[in-house]
Amino acid sequence: MASNINQDCLYSQSHEWVRVEGDTAYAGITDYAQSQLSDIVYVELPEVGTTYAQGDNFAVVESVKAASDCYLSLSGEIIEVNEALESEPELVNSDPYGKGWFVRLAIADASEIEGLMSPSDYAEFVAKAEEEGGH
């Protein structure tokens, strides 16, 4: 089944997305990532006010049988976390780019945005991953 890819987001190779809005960005995991994990039962989010460098592990997402570290695609300070995930982690499954967002951050270095994958690049990347992973 082909994964849904949101055209307004930019992507990382570890299957996180960011949606830049001015000086801030929303971040979460992609539809492909959530489908690989299957039913998500918990998301461990960072504390507001924590600062991360690009590529830092900022969250952990758990299914019944697996736990995955999530990496922040852009450096910055966490200014908001999605508290709804605490009681409804399944939002990550049902709406990964919308209600299933993880954090909002204040972007520290806008130049990092250029290095992220476009929706079309990511689509290609996922197609390849699906081909290799398919068994």
């Binding site: 504390e47 758990e62 299914s63 019944v64 049988k65 697996a66 736990a67 570290d69």
Partner: protein, 447 residues
């Protein structure tokens, strides 16, 4: 005696099926130079012979079912109703593994779920795990959990010196590879309030024991506030029998309540296996180590139980797990649950009261002896400190040699300077006659 069922012809048939000529051929992957070494052990023996040897060994010990003893100090001789052992001997319980296949492990799973419930009720906490190895390791896990709750930014632990010495030693062993600073242990006489004042913004947790190692009931009021003001956790070790009458630390705002569950239906067994109970608040559950059973439903909507939150554990998180723990003390936790169910609401309180009143009777009688003094400056549960006219170890030796009584715990072995102090424990197993016997023996051995 061997438990291999094969006949020679079974073995030959199986070897033929595999396609090898003899058993040795199965081991060619083992380097020839070290293959088939001799083991220097006695020849096989019959069940009868071995049992006779074991009975002879057991007979060399003084068993407390027939020897008066006033030892406590972290392991307690209590009455265990017969029903406990009969449940433990159900081999569907004791020959099962960790309940990885819930469809054929509902007995173990529900029993643990009920155990978790009873521990929550006893401690007045929101969640309990399926148990740790013992009270000492439960405390070590509490320290690790507190460091994790501090997200690695807090490395200081305030640890009361009146916590069981072996628990503190275990905590130090566990944390030797971690960057942790301990304060508070150097003054076993420090009050709870003084310990609370040691908490600062780098403190992960404040750890006390109540009743403490010396038997004293610690006033926990204000401690949770003192710890929480600095975002540190309050960890309290408790004696589960004392919780039959004393206010549980959960009602005093503790974040983790733990202890050794041996007094709940588990035999002394020379120090193990016991179990460590461990309870915390709901919001900390994902930082807790150890197995956990949760309720759910099956495909038909029927109530059932599974191991849950296993993503905290080593088989999934590997190097990032909360702990390397694989199991709980399944059978010991089962014994504790059967004990708590059998004693129940009224019975546990009654055991606690028997311990309390008999201990106070003993303390008063010993204090009345000229040569001895009992420290009654703080309220105590079922253990108290007696100051002796000469080293406690000598008193104990004389009690045993001349009266056949096993005395109390000589405190000098863990607390230098307290060579003349003895920690005496009285439970429901010590009759009034036994206590009177101890008092007159103490008088006799004073000189």
């Amino acid at each position: 005696m061997s438990y291999v069922p094969h006949t020679d012809s079974d073995v030959s048939e199986m070897l033929a099926r595999i396609g090898v000529s003899d058993l040795q051929e199965l081991f060619t992957a083992v380097p020839a130079a070290v293959r088939f070494p001799a083991i220097d052990l006695a020849a096989p023996r019959s069940e009868l012979d071995v049992m006779q040897e074991l009975k002879a060994l057991a007979a060399q010990n003084a068993a407390l079912d027939s020897t008066p003893s006033f030892l406590g100090a972290g392991a307690y001789h209590h009455w265990v109703p017969s029903v406990v052992n009969h449940v433990l001997l159900r081999s569907e319980f004791y020959t099962a593994y960790t309940p990885y296949q819930p469809e054929i492990s509902q007995g173990t799973l529900q029993a643990i779920f009920e155990y978790q419930t009873m521990i929550c009720d006893l401690t007045a906490m929101e969640v309990s795990n399926a148990s740790h190895y013992d009270g000492a390791t439960a405390m070590a896990e509490a320290v690790i959990m507190s460091l994790s709750a501090g997200r690695g930014r807090r490395n200081r632990v305030v640890l009361s010196g009146s916590v069981h010495p072996e628990y503190r030693q275990t905590v130090h062993t566990y944390t030797q590879g971690m960057d942790v600073v301990f304060v508070g242990e150097d003054r076993p006489g420090a009050t709870a309030k003084e310990l609370g004042a040691l908490v600062d913004d780098s403190t992960a947790c404040l750890i006390l024991q109540s009743p403490d190692f010396f038997g004293r009931i610690v006033d926990l009021r204000g401690l949770a506030e003192a710890a929480h003001a600095h975002k540190a956790l309050l960890v309290v070790a408790s004696n589960p029998i004392a919780l039959g009458m004393l206010k549980p630390a959960g009602e005093m705002g503790a974040d983790i309540v733990l202890g050794d569950g041996q007094p709940l239906g588990n035999s002394l067994s020379f120090g193990g296996p016991h179990l460590g109970f461990f309870a915390t608040r709901q919001e900390l559950v994902r930082r807790m180590a150890g197995r956990l059973v949760g309720e759910t439903v099956d495909a038909d909507g029927k109530r059932g139980y599974v191991l849950t939150l296993s993503t905290r554990e080593q088989h999934i998180r590997r190097d990032k797990a909360t702990s390397n723990i694989c199991t709980n003390q399944g059978l010991n936790a089962l014994a504790a649950a059967v004990y708590l169910a059998t004693l129940g609401k009224q019975g546990l309180r009654q055991v606690a009261e028997l311990c309390y009143h008999r201990a106070h009777y003993a303390a008063a009688a010993i204090d009345a002896l000229d040569a001895y003094h009992v420290d009654q400056s703080a309220p105590f549960f079922h253990e108290f400190v007696v100051s002796c006219p000469r080293p406690a170890s000598e008193i104990n030796a004389a009690l045993w040699d001349r009266h056949g009584i096993i005395g109390g715990y000589a405190l000098g072995s863990a607390y230098p300077g307290m060579e003349r102090q003895m920690l005496i424990c009285v439970t429901e197993m010590n009759s009034r006659a036994q206590i009177d016997g101890l008092v007159s023996a103490l008088q006799e051995v004073a000189k």
